[in-house]
């Protein structure tokens, strides 16, 4: 992903419940992909990290996947 996914799709608020979108930014182990690979702006990368962590807390995403 070269361009910021959230700006391109006009997503202003990254929601922790939107698991399908968040999954795009996880590697097979369930770890958050680095900003180098995601191509997100620093601000959106931080918001993404927060959203993923909230989703993990509520069991929507795994902390570790096999």
């Amino acid at each position: 992903m070269k361009q910021d996914y959230f700006s391109v799709n006009n997503i202003k608020y990254i929601d922790y419940k939107d698991v399908e979108i968040l999954k795009k930014f996880l590697n097979p182990n369930g770890r958050i992909v680095s900003h180098k690979r995601t191509g997100l702006t620093a601000k959106n990368q931080r918001a993404l990290a927060m959203a993923v962590k909230h989703a993990r807390f509520l069991g929507l995403l795994p902390f570790v996947a096999k």
């Binding site: 799709n9 608020y13 922790y16 399908e20 902390f63």
Partner: protein, 168 residues
Amino acid sequence: MKFMSVSENKGENTAEGRVYELGYLLAPTIKEEEVPAVYGNLKELILSLGGEVISDEMPRMMSLAYTMVKVVTNVRNKFNTAYFGWVKFYMKPEKVLELKAKLDLDPEFVRFLITKTVKENTIAAKRFVRDDMSHRKAPAAKKDKDAGPAPEINKEEIDKEIDAMVAV
């Protein structure tokens, strides 16, 4: 600069208070028929604390990404499934602490999360997924085009090879 307006919205303070979202997991031990009652009680609790519900979603059964443990009356309960639901509401910041204190004591909640949010719908429409799908398919299509002329070259090579074989 687009994003500036979002951060302003986040700190939005109106007469009713701030926009919060409560995401929660209800214990799977609750029967399917009793879930609406629990959900109704939660809404009443929010209203009783001077809150105003903006939007919400009914709790529905889902499998958890990992096993959660909650100790209720000295018994360690393990959960692999739970009812997940959420409510978005206006509330005064000091009242939210009261809400949290009440939910902490409730044995029906496996976990809950209170976050500051914006009043607009934050779940992106499905078309975003499709956009991404088409974007992903695009490079594959290009490869096919590249592969188009390749067999012709191969045919000539094959013909030459066959001629060579025949000659032998």
